[in-house]
Symmetry: C2
Subunit: 205 residues, 2 copies
């Protein structure tokens, strides 16, 4: 429409370039170690010049943050899918969210690790901060529905649930925690289930 060329691919729309940059960033973040995800590598993958990103993102960190915001949205979607597949019991829903969280982090470990790296969330009103907020809201809602014992208020419950799953996957992906004797089948999901179940008393009455 706005392009006189019928073929339409000779010249891309501005939004396309921006979207291509974010997509390329998200891909490279998972494909390469953090230090190798350079602004210029992202630009090359998106098929633009090395200075094109500067028209959309003030700095490298902002481009990375845009890719990481996509990561938060994918994580949120993953948790919601698992929650909706679980039953009606609040604890089962919370546990399903936790298992979905763990599954995402283990499938996209580099993206996940970078999401929690300080320095990419520039301000509380950035895209990435908002995506993180939507993610946290899923957890907060699930915790709010549980019937917790005396002394476990909502904030404490959210902290407990989150630090459990985050701590678990962080130790796994950093190589500090080897779970199980590694005999054939992957013991991680089973261990995740056992560990989450240990916190059950804090979320049931």
């Amino acid at each position: 429409m706005a392009d006189s060329e019928a073929g339409g691919e000779r010249r891309s729309r501005p939004a396309d370039v921006r979207a291509a940059l974010v997509a390329a960033a998200a891909e490279l973040i998972e494909a390469l170690p953090e230090s190798e995800v350079s602004l210029r590598a992202v630009a090359r993958r998106a098929g633009v010049s090395h200075a094109a990103p500067a028209h959309y993102f003030p700095s490298r960190a902002d481009l990375m943050a845009a890719g990481l915001a996509e990561g938060f949205d994918a994580l949120t979607a993953r948790m919601l899918a698992r929650r909706d597949a679980a039953g009606d019991d609040p604890w089962e829903q919370l546990k399903a969210i936790g298992l979905g969280y763990i599954a995402f982090a283990l499938e996209r470990p580099r993206t996940y690790a970078m999401m929690f790296q300080p320095g990419y969330i520039t301000g509380p009103d950035s895209d990435m901060a908002r995506a993180g907020e939507r993610c946290r809201a899923v957890l907060t809602d699930a915790v709010a529905k549980t019937r917790r014992p005396e002394g476990v208020d909502q904030d404490l419950g959210v902290a407990l649930a989150w630090m459990n799953v985050h701590g678990f996957v962080s130790l796994i992906t950093s190589g500090m925690l080897k779970c199980g004797p590694t005999e054939g089948a992957n013991p991680t999901p089973a261990m995740a289930d056992r560990l989450l179940s240990l916190t059950r008393p804090a979320f049931t009455k």
Copy 2:
């Protein structure tokens, strides 16, 4: 002795240069964001040329790993000090270790975060891996002394204790978790205490 100069500072011993590099790395790791801790900046701080580190460390990652190994040792010392100041009760000792762990991570957040960054532990027989192993041993011993309920074996106990403290401090330092209403006094230690206490049933009978 080996130096003909009586002043003795004109020419430093080889071990001094290496130690100075490691010390400079440890300082800069805490003082600057990770991306700004360059090999050349460490060399400048140590007062040597930009290529001097190459004589002791094959790559930048190895120099960083040496600095991070010092971090693990400091963490280990911190946990031991707290444990020995606690009483004889196994649970109290384990909790003291956890609180020492949290205190270290919150005092040296950048060092702590980098210690768990994948890519710095090159092999299982590296200095950093061994320092991490010594650190883990403190936790393992403390968990071994506890009397845990049926179903909580030692590996599960270690995983639970570690992921709790690691998850907590990681979420705090990455800005994801704000604990308490931030009214004057720092609410973090109190929250840490409450959270650790929630896991008490897994470590007592």
